[in-house]
Amino acid sequence: MESFENIKKYWEKNAGEEVGFIPVSRQSLEEVIRKKISKEQKIVIEYFWASFVFQVATYAFLSHLFIKYWGNNFIMFWSVAGIILYVPFTFMLLHKIKSMKMMTSVKLNSPLPDIVNNVKNQHRVLFSFFRFKRNFELFLIPASCFIFILLVFKLYVPGGAEANLAGCIVSYIILVSIFCLAVYAENKKRFKGPLRQLELILEDVEKNNG
């Protein structure tokens, strides 16, 4: 098989015979469709639990504090501040998740993309979501941890944050670090790894186009 033309002839002769191709039966097709639909739904539910439910729990907690401590201006103010902080991000997050989900579904009336455009589209949508998520987290994590520590110290530590400044700062740093570690692991798995794979393909296209 030294020359490529020999390889081609060899391929034409043997490629169709190398695996005893088993025809796809109606039953196995139905099984694959059922399995894949359930997998797609599982991915959506994972996203839902990972992002939306956390925010709903935050709303519930802050609303609870707002009602329970009605008349306490400090707690009412910071509870409302926490809710206001999360509302725009919840809407934006749901919108972005929807566009991510639409990327995987087939558009009936649009032409099939070629390989390079498909990779570019996937990179664009994934990168846009990742950039939004990263900016969202950069702002939201420190801000929400600050509000949470402030409220917890006010409610459960005598003297509140003012009387326990050192403890307050240490707790804040620990809480921010925990959030950052969790977010780093999630971003690496869901975004940085996949984006790098797509970038390698695009780099290959760019390098060989010049």
Binding site: M1, I7, E12, E17, P23, N109, Q122, Q197, N208
Partner: protein, 169 residues
């Protein structure tokens, strides 16, 4: 939708089973010997099923199938956390188990797939379509590259594969 008889599912199966080798070959090119191979096969089948209503018969069914199968396989690569395959064919060749029943033809096909596995994802698509006798124009349409680019890449791919296979024998 392009249908040859009334039953949608039956039509789909008839089309797919006449071209099932395409899915196998795409899986072999991108996921040869990988545990993910079966999952990719099912994913391609599912994507074909979802896209089937949009198939109008404007192109050959096999061309349409290659387009979806290659896009699905390349999309699947992004889920992997390891870097693309860079191992040398020589090492792989010496690791191939020599089973008693395995004939020369089967070993050569495995060698060929292993040599192709050292190429980049785009080059794999190009060489597969070339081996399947697609014209430069059709390859350009499926991959989104220019005809000139395809031709330049093919020269390099051919040289690389010839060298890899020469070293392994």
């Amino acid at each position: 939708m392009y249908m040859i008889n009334g039953d949608y599912k039956e039509d789909f199966l008839q089309h797919i089973n006449s071209n099932t080798g395409i899915i196998h070959r795409v899986c072999n090119i991108y996921f040869n010997g990988s545990p993910e191979r079966e999952d990719v096969f099912q994913e391609i089948l599912y994507q074909l099923w979802k896209s089937y209503p949009a198939f109008k018969g404007a192109s050959r069914f096999s061309t349409w199938m290659y387009r979806i199968a290659l896009n699905t396989a390349i999309t699947y690569i992004k889920k992997r956390n390891r870097t693309p395959h860079k191992e040398e064919l020589n090492e792989t060749y010496h690791q191939l188990p020599e089973s008693a029943g395995e004939d020369h033809q089967e070993i050569n096909m495995r060698l060929l797939y292993t040599a192709i596995d050292t190429l980049s994802p785009i080059d794999k698509a190009i060489v597969l379509l070339y081996l399947e006798d697609y014209s430069y124009e059709e390859i350009a349409l499926i991959t989104g590259l220019t005809k000139t680019n395809i031709s330049v890449r093919l020269v390099r791919i051919k040289r690389k594969l010839e060298q890899q296979l020469k070293n392994s024998i």
